[in-house]
């Protein structure tokens, strides 16, 4: 049987978790677990559309900027006296519009997604600053904020509502990617776009859809983030795009496209969250934490390739000796 990297990450996650239970005081408490997972809720949410994008050979670097724009807009409209019930659909529409722009530039103008979304990363963050400047808007309604914070959990569990929503969406993403025609189309596009096109897959339309979903989810993550911290700022979630991509790659989704599982990405995101929490609880300096994440990432990209190379080499040797 071929070793699978996503299974390995899952095992690693369990191992780290169990180590944490055994060694770190305070890790196992309900409060801490609720916090630890809620702390990466937005990254986790955005990792789902990112997984689909990367499987299809695309990437969206603008997700965190869209989160920031959504947060800034939520704050500005709230400050202007809009009803929260109106703000959310408006902000989500802005997310869809941002996704459409990304998708349009990639599919109709024909630019590579990496280049396009580097541009929109700056653009959306810039717009966020235009909307809110360096202000911070606070005092969001408790009726909604309580669903985002880590002190409210699904009764009887340590799962907060953003995390519970993530689980539901992860199941949906897994079903779509692994057991529908659309999912198979994504793998086909990621593996060989031209072949997929000639096989009759609506490559452009599917890619456009993926960017729109990414924009929508990022905008929603922006609302969650804003409520969770109770502070809308233009710089909210700065740098999260790297965490999202790191989590997806760590989960064994191939950056070249065509390979990967939702399970792996979920394991990757949880591993990053649990590790961060454990290291912080043990007073490990932030710089070291960044190094650990970096090393894990390099390992996750390197190891599967090394395994392939080694097994190929063994194959060749076996062939020559026989």
């Amino acid at each position: 049987m071929k070793p699978r990297w996503d299974t390995a990450v899952g095992v690693l996650l369990v191992a780290v978790f169990v180590t944490g239970l055994g060694t770190t005081d305070g890790f196992a408490s309900r409060d801490n677990l609720a916090f630890a997972f809620n702390d990466i809720a937005e990254v986790a949410l955005m990792a789902l559309p990112m997984t689909l994008l990367v499987v299809a050979g695309q990437v969206d670097l603008s997700v965190a900027s869209m989160l920031g724009l959504s947060s800034a807009l939520t704050g500005e409209l709230w400050d202007k006296g809009w009803a929260f019930e109106t703000i959310v659909p408006v902000v989500l529409l802005v997310g869809v519009a941002g996704g459409l722009l990304n998708g349009w530039l990639v599919t109709r103008v024909g630019l590579p997604s990496l280049a396009v979304t580097i541009g929109t990363l700056a653009l959306y963050r810039g717009l966020a600053s235009v909307v809110l400047g360096s202000n911070a808007i606070t005092d969001f309604p408790e009726t909604y904020a309580k669903w985002a914070v880590d002190t409210t959990t699904v009764p009887g569990t340590f799962l907060t509502y953003p995390v519970a929503l993530f689980i539901v969406l992860a199941v949906i993403a897994a079903v779509v990617l692994h057991s529908t025609g659309l999912g198979r189309s994504l793998f086909a596009i990621g593996a060989q776009e031209d072949a997929a096109y000639f096989a009759g897959i609506r490559v452009k339309r599917i890619k456009l859809l993926l960017f729109v979903v990414a924009g929508l989810v990022s905008a929603f993550a922006g609302v969650v983030f804003t409520l969770r911290y109770g502070s809308a700022r233009a710089d909210n979630g700065q740098g999260f795009e790297m965490l999202v991509i790191a989590a997806v790659l760590l989960g064994g989704v191939d950056f070249d496209g065509g390979k990967g599982t939702v399970f792996g990405a979920v394991a990757g995101v949880l591993l990053i969250g649990v590790l961060k929490n454990l290291l912080t609880l043990n007073d490990v300096a932030n710089e070291v934490q960044v190094i650990v994440t970096g090393l894990l990432l390099v390992a996750s990209v390197l190891t599967p390739r090394m395994i392939t190379t080694v097994s190929a080499w063994r194959h060749r040797r076996a062939a020559t000796t026989s």
Binding site: G26, A83, A136, P141, I201, R233, G239, N277, T280, N286
Partner: protein
């Protein structure tokens, strides 16, 4: 691995032409957008939750319940955690190191933890961690006065004392704020010092940080107010420029000021970046010795310019004292000597007695003035 049979049949290619022209999807998108907009408007019409409904501006509830016992001794073995804006901020490092040293004086244990970036939300996970570690007090220099609020309130609920220093949180989210100096004193004293140097006459200008920096604008407000007094009738503030706390921009703004106002006699720069950049420009220009520069700076940045005569004096609070005071204040809270209510008194080691002011503020005292005579005693 993808299997060929799993792919849709080539027959679907026939339909692609129509789809690419995009008539159907575009209509559908427009319709969806319209529906969502209508829905949004309806919701807005129905009222909904707006800002007016939630005026939850909480006041500090410190002091409620617990009673202060001014005679209680400082507890031994207190665990204090310093949470700076970011871990590699050299100024806050001095403060924290001094605070940790103070903790050792009263038999406590201090440590510094924190994020490597100063973004609004990065401090939150550290607060949670400190709660899990059951620290006795958290001392925080807040990156965002509100983003840290929820977790700090959680901490206080679990009887962990919260002291803000350097940058305050919203008052409801901490028990004490250790203020470096009162804004009024910082503002007025800078005008007073400069006026003395200029013999109370001549044109002056201000080199500030960013246009919307709260602390800068408060100070400048007090400077302008001070200048209204009759003693300063021969002094005129001609311009306030903004160097955005960027070395190069501050440098250029200084250059611009001196070119635009040839009669300029003095510059106040109440920001450490600004004053250092201005001093660098003046020291290499013909204005050296003719234009007086004063403001807030750090001794390490300004030493050279004090020694070469570009700058006679400047001021800043002593971060070591600030950290020291914070540490003692946190210990006094954790030992039950004070609760954070106005009028309570506590002893801060060698700094003497301090009184809690309005809104739980403790003021360190007037800024320290640095000049040739004392600058070599300070290293920060």
């Amino acid at each position: 691995m993808i299997q060929r049979s799993a792919l849709p049949s080539p027959a679907t290619t026939l339909k692609r032409g129509a789809a690419r022209r995009g008539h159907i999807p575009r209509h559908r998108a427009a319709a969806t957008a319209a529906v969502v907009c209508a829905l949004a408007v309806t919701l807005a019409g129905c009222g909904g939750t707006t800002k007016k409904d939630t005026d939850n501006s909480g006041k500090a509830d410190s002091g409620s319940g617990a009673k202060a016992n001014p005679d209680a001794p400082l507890k031994k073995g207190l665990k204090l955690a310093f949470l700076p804006k970011q871990i590699n901020n050299p100024y806050l490092k001095i403060l924290d190191t001094s605070g940790i040293g103070a903790a050792r004086e009263f038999g406590g244990k201090g440590k510094e933890v924190g994020p490597s970036d100063a973004s609004a939300s990065s401090q939150v996970s550290y607060i949670n961690t400190l709660v899990q570690q059951r620290q006795d007090a958290i001392l925080i220099a807040a990156n965002d006065p509100n983003a840290v609020c929820g977790p700090l309130k959680q901490a206080m609920k679990k009887n962990i004392k919260v002291v803000a220093y350097d940058s305050d949180t919203a008052p409801a989210c901490r028990q004490l704020f250790i203020n470096q100096a009162s804004s009024e004193e910082i503002g007025r004293s800078q005008v007073q010092h400069l006026a003395k140097q200029l013999d109370y006459k001549g044109e002056i200008a201000i080199l500030s940080a960013t246009q919307n920096a709260t602390n800068q604008n408060t100070w400048i407000g007090f400077m302008k107010d001070e200048l209204k007094k009759p003693a300063y009738k021969n002094m005129k503030l001609v311009k306030t420029v903004y160097g955005d706390d960027d070395d190069q921009k501050s440098f250029q703004e200084t250059q611009g000021l001196l070119k635009a106002y040839p009669k300029l006699k003095g510059i106040i720069s109440p920001t450490t970046v600004g004053i250092a950049a201005a001093a660098r420009y003046i020291s290499d220009s013909s204005y050296k010795g003719k234009v007086v520069l004063n403001g807030l700076g750090t001794p390490n940045q300004m030493r050279k310019y004090v020694k070469d005569g570009t700058v006679e004096q400047f001021a800043l609070w002593d971060p070591k004292k600030l950290g020291y005071l914070g540490s003692y204040a946190a210990a006094a809270l954790a030992s039950g000597q004070i609760t954070g209510a106005e009028g309570e008194k506590f002893k801060a080691g060698k700094l003497g007695e301090y009184t809690v002011g309005k809104d739980g503020e403790v003021i360190l005292g007037p800024p320290t003035v640095f000049d040739k005579s004392n600058i070599d005693k300070f290293h920060f």
